[in-house]
C-alpha cells in the first residue's frame, strides 16, 4: 500500500493495518489510524478484507487461565446444578477464562476450541452480580445467525432442532444486562464441533 504511513496519512501501510488488527497500537496512534480510516474508504476496505483473512488463518487461541482450582471446582458444581448429572449432558469444559478486554467481563467456561459434539452443545459462563437477564447469541464464523436466546440462566444447551456442522467454526457470545443499565460480556468465543 502507498507510503507514507499513518504519520503522513496518505494511506495506511501494511504494518499499520496489521497493528490495528492486533490491537497493538498506542492510543495516540490508534486515534490517528482511526481518523484516517473514517475518511478513507479504500483503507477501510483493506482493513476489512485483511481482517477476514487473519480470522481465517488464525489458530484457535487458548485464553489465559484466570481462575485457580477453587474456581474450577465451583464451575463444575455450577454445571452439575444447572444441567443435571447425566453423563451425556455435561458440556465440554475448558479452564474458566476471563474474556479479553479491560473492563469487568463474564467468566467463560465453554465451549472453546475444537472437538465437542455437534448437537446439544452446552454454553456456560459465570454469573454477573445484579444481572437481570442474559442473552446468548450463536453465529457461524461467516456471521450467519444460528441461534439466540434470552433468559436468567448462565448455562444453556442448544435445542435438538439446532445441529451444528462438524468441522465448521462458530462463534458464541453471552451478554448480561445489569440492573444499573450496564452490560457484561463473555466476548466472542470461537469453537468448532468435531467431525
Amino acid at each position: 500500500m502507498s507510503e507514507p504511513s499513518s504519520e503522513g496519512l496518505k494511506h495506511l501501510t501494511d504494518a499499520d493495518v496489521a497493528a490495528y488488527l492486533d490491537r497493538g497500537l498506542s492510543a495516540v496512534r490508534r486515534d490517528r489510524i482511526e481518523g484516517h480510516l473514517a475518511g478513507c474508504a479504500e483503507c477501510r476496505l483493506e482493513v476489512l478484507e485483511a481482517q477476514q483473512l487473519v480470522k481465517r488463518v488464525r489458530p484457535f487461541r487458548r485464553a489465559p487461565v484466570w481462575a485457580g482450582s477453587m474456581a474450577a471446582a465451583a464451575a463444575v458444581a455450577l454445571l452439575v446444578a444447572k444441567l443435571g448429572s447425566g453423563p451425556g449432558r455435561l458440556p465440554e469444559i475448558t479452564t474458566p477464562v476471563r474474556a479479553d478486554g479491560g473492563t469487568s467481563q463474564l467468566v467463560v467456561y465453554g465451549p472453546t476450541g475444537e472437538g465437542m459434539p455437534a448437537h446439544r452443545v452446552s454454553f456456560v459462563w459465570g454469573a454477573a452480580a445484579a444481572a437481570l437477564t442474559y442473552r446468548l447469541t450463536v453465529t457461524a464464523s461467516d456471521e450467519a445467525p444460528v441461534w439466540s436466546r434470552s433468559g436468567p440462566d448462565t448455562a444453556v444447551v442448544l435445542p435438538d432442532s439446532i445441529v451444528l456442522s462438524p468441522g465448521r467454526r462458530y462463534v458464541w457470545v453471552a451478554d448480561a444486562l445489569l440492573a444499573d443499565g450496564g452490560t457484561r460480556s463473555t466476548g466472542m468465543r470461537e469453537f468448532m464441533p468435531g467431525r
Binding site: A19, D31, V57, D100, E143
Partner: protein, 224 residues
C-alpha cells in the same frame, strides 16, 4: 518507533536474518516457511481457487519474500504493535494483490473482495447521517426553489462541521455503519468491541451527541 504492544519476532526469522552462512540461512528459511505455510496458502486461496493459480500466487509470495536478501521480512518491527503472523498475513495478501495486478493489470473479478460487491453503491456519510437524524426531509434542491437549495446546503455544511468535531473512533463508527453499511457484528469485530450490543450503545450515544450539536446550531428536525 515504539507505538504500543511489542511482539517478538519468531526464532526462525531471527536465525534467517542473522545467519552468517548460506546453509544456515536456507535451513532457517525452510523452517520459517514450514511454520507459516497454512497462512501463506490461505492468503493465496483468498483470491480465488484453482490449484494452479493458488500455487502461482504462493510461489510469488515466496519469491518476493526472498527478494533482495529478504528485504521485506527485514521490515518487520516487533515494536509496531503487530504480531509476526498478522503482519505476514497482511503482507502475503498485499503480494497477492500485486501478483494479480501484474498479471492481469487489475484485480480479477471477485478477488478484491466481498466488500466491494456489498458496497457497490457507496453512500456519502453526510447524506446518510442526515437521513438517520431526520433533518433533511426538505425537497431536493433541483426541484425546488433557490431558497430551499440554500437551506439544504447550509444544513449539509453544518452537519459536516458537527461530524468533524467527533472523535476519530466515533467518526469511524459512523462511516462503518452508514457509509459502508456493515452489520453491527462486523463493526464490533473491526473496532474490537466485545459484542454488537456495544456497537448499538455507542452508536446511540454518538447520534444523541450529534442531535445535541445540531440543535445548538439551530437545526432540530425536518422542515426547520
Amino acid at each position: 518507533m515504539s507505538n504500543g504492544r511489542e511482539h517478538a519476532a519468531p526464532l526462525e526469522l531471527h536465525l534467517l536474518l542473522g545467519a552468517p552462512e548460506e546453509t544456515v540461512r536456507e535451513a532457517a528459511w525452510e523452517k520459517l516457511i514450514a511454520a507459516h505455510t497454512r497462512l501463506l496458502l490461505a492468503a493465496a486461496r483468498s483470491f480465488g481457487d484453482g490449484h494452479d493459480e493458488v500455487m502461482n500466487r504462493y510461489s510469488y509470495i515466496l519469491e518476493k519474500c526472498r527478494e533482495s536478501n529478504f528485504r521485506r521480512l527485514r521490515t518487520f518491527d516487533g515494536s509496531s504493535g503487530a504480531s509476526f503472523s498478522t503482519w505476514l498475513t497482511v503482507i502475503a495478501r498485499r503480494l497477492c494483490l500485486d501478483y494479480e495486478r501484474t498479471r492481469y493489470g487489475r484485480y480479477p473479478a471477485g478477488a478484491k473482495a466481498s466488500g466491494n460487491s456489498d458496497r457497490a453503491v457507496r453512500r456519502t456519510l453526510v447524506d446518510s447521517i442526515a437521513l438517520e437524524l431526520d433533518i433533511d426531509r426538505i425537497e431536493a434542491p433541483d426541484t425546488d426553489s433557490q431558497e430551499t437549495a440554500l437551506v439544504h446546503a447550509e444544513r449539509t455544511a453544518t452537519l459536516r462541521a458537527v461530524l468533524s468535531g467527533l472523535t476519530p473512533r466515533e467518526q469511524l463508527l459512523l462511516a462503518l455503519r452508514f457509509e459502508d453499511d456493515l452489520p453491527a457484528v462486523r463493526i464490533a469485530s473491526i473496532l474490537g468491541l466485545p459484542t454488537p450490543f456495544h456497537v448499538y450503545r455507542q452508536m446511540n450515544g454518538v447520534l444523541a451527541k450529534l442531535r445535541v450539536a445540531l440543535v445548538s446550531r439551530g437545526i432540530d428536525g425536518p422542515g426547520d
